[in-house]
Amino acid sequence: MATPMQVEVVSPEGQIWEGQSVGVSVRNVEGSLGILSDHEPLLTILAPGAAEIITLDGRREVIAVSGGFMTVNENVVTILTDSAEMGHEISLEEARRELAQLEELRGEGDNDDEDEHRYNQVLSQIRAAEKYHELHG
């Protein structure tokens, strides 16, 4: 078996998740990106979306990541983001409602930086929640 990777998800509010993993899947600016053991050193900018981490015992952790970046180096994967939530803590309905409101603002063109950021955050929550429900029913 390949060497497990040490994965860490951190935000300014503290560490969100840490553990060993056999595979990580994130969404970066160019599309979906999968990381397996012994990946080459990589530094990439992330897009708002779900990070999926497959733990050693085969569990699939889903974490909403609002942006930020990821470094991969010698089987250590670090995801840095402004804000992150665990997939099972997200309410899909609430997030969808908020997204609709923010999209309305966006359409009218009177959204500020903070709204834009919140939009990314909610978008990542929805993507993560959808993935979570897909995996865990």
Partner: protein, 299 residues
């Protein structure tokens, strides 16, 4: 005429009421300072990783980034001053203002135009009262700054820095904040935030961790990665300064309230003694009158 017994007792009552308030404020500040420190500690891993990544990319990317480029000549500078929203924190606000005024004077002597940004009500009031126009001010979160607050401030200041001089942009950004050294010692510091010098990371990396930077694969290109990372880095520095200032404010308030409580205790002791003396004098006088009266009757 010495104060009457009733006056002394009333004064003592009022001082002990004040003492209750200062005591409560001391305890509140003490518990909040712990929480502020805990929040600052939580941000440490994020800070470390970010500094490492930025210094890795910065060494790899040979091109000068707009945010790191020294301007040929700096005419306009911006200054962000971080103070508290409320007073009753000893010399905390006064110290920040003193250092800020010193910096303003220095810029004046160098013939630079200064744009002042403030964080916290106290310093905003100070400058507006003296008729200085503020380029921007934020308040309402001095005790508990969030990352979102830092992001709002950081984005605006970065935009100002990238803007041309003629359009109101600035060539430098200085930050005045209070570093939390310990519960009893806080120090006001001036940091030049922009143009950026990435130095911190280099010492922190141990030899084993120090990758040869061009082994990294960047997605998208290194320059674009740097574009995205540097603003994060600056926002993080501002977040850090806000958190340090918050902890300093609370520690200063705790200290101030502690000495206020001590002073009140001393006052109460003194007043109690005076009151007892006055009571004693009253009794003595009464006895004298009775004895004097009895003597007069017997005579």
């Amino acid at each position: 005429m010495p104060a009457t017994l009733r006056e002394l007792r009333e004064r003592r009552k009022s001082v002990s009421a004040t003492m209750k308030i200062t005591k409560a404020m001391e305890l509140i500040a003490a518990s909040r300072v712990m929480r502020a420190q805990a929040r600052a500690r939580q941000a440490v891993p994020y800070n470390e990783q970010l500094v490492r990544a930025v210094s890795d990319v910065a060494t790899y990317s040979s091109e000068d980034h707009p945010l790191t480029m020294e301007p040929a000549e700096s005419r306009r500078v911006a200054m962000l001053v971080v103070s508290a929203d409320r007073g009753l924190a000893g010399a905390y606000n006064a110290n920040v203002i003193r250092v800020a005024e010193g910096l303003l004077k220095r810029f004046d002597e160098e013939g630079k135009e200064v744009e002042v940004y403030t964080c916290g009500r106290k310093v905003r009031d100070y400058f507006t009262f003296r008729g200085r126009e503020l380029a921007g001010s934020w308040f309402g979160f001095s005790e508990k700054p969030s990352y979102a607050d830092a992001r709002t401030i950081g984005k605006l200041l970065i935009d100002q820095f990238l803007e041309d001089d003629d359009k109101g942009g600035v060539d430098e950004l200085h930050l005045v904040f209070t570093r939390f050294k310990s519960m009893v010692s806080q120090q006001v510091q001036i940091v030049r935030l922009l143009p950026l010098e990435v130095v911190e990371g280099e010492e922190e990396l141990s030899p084993t961790e120090q990758l040869i930077p061009d082994e990294y694969h960047y997605e998208p290109k290194a320059e674009e990665v740097l574009d995205a990372l540097l603003p994060l880095y600056i926002i993080n520095r501002i977040h850090f300064a806000l958190m340090e200032s918050a902890a300093s404010e609370l520690a200063a308030r705790q200290q101030a309230m502690h000495s206020a409580t001590d002073n009140a205790k001393q006052l109460i002791d003194g007043l109690t003694r005076d009151a007892n003396q006055a009571r004693q004098a009253e009794i003595t006088q009464e006895i004298n009158e009775i004895v004097g009266g009895a003597g007069a009757l017997a005579a």
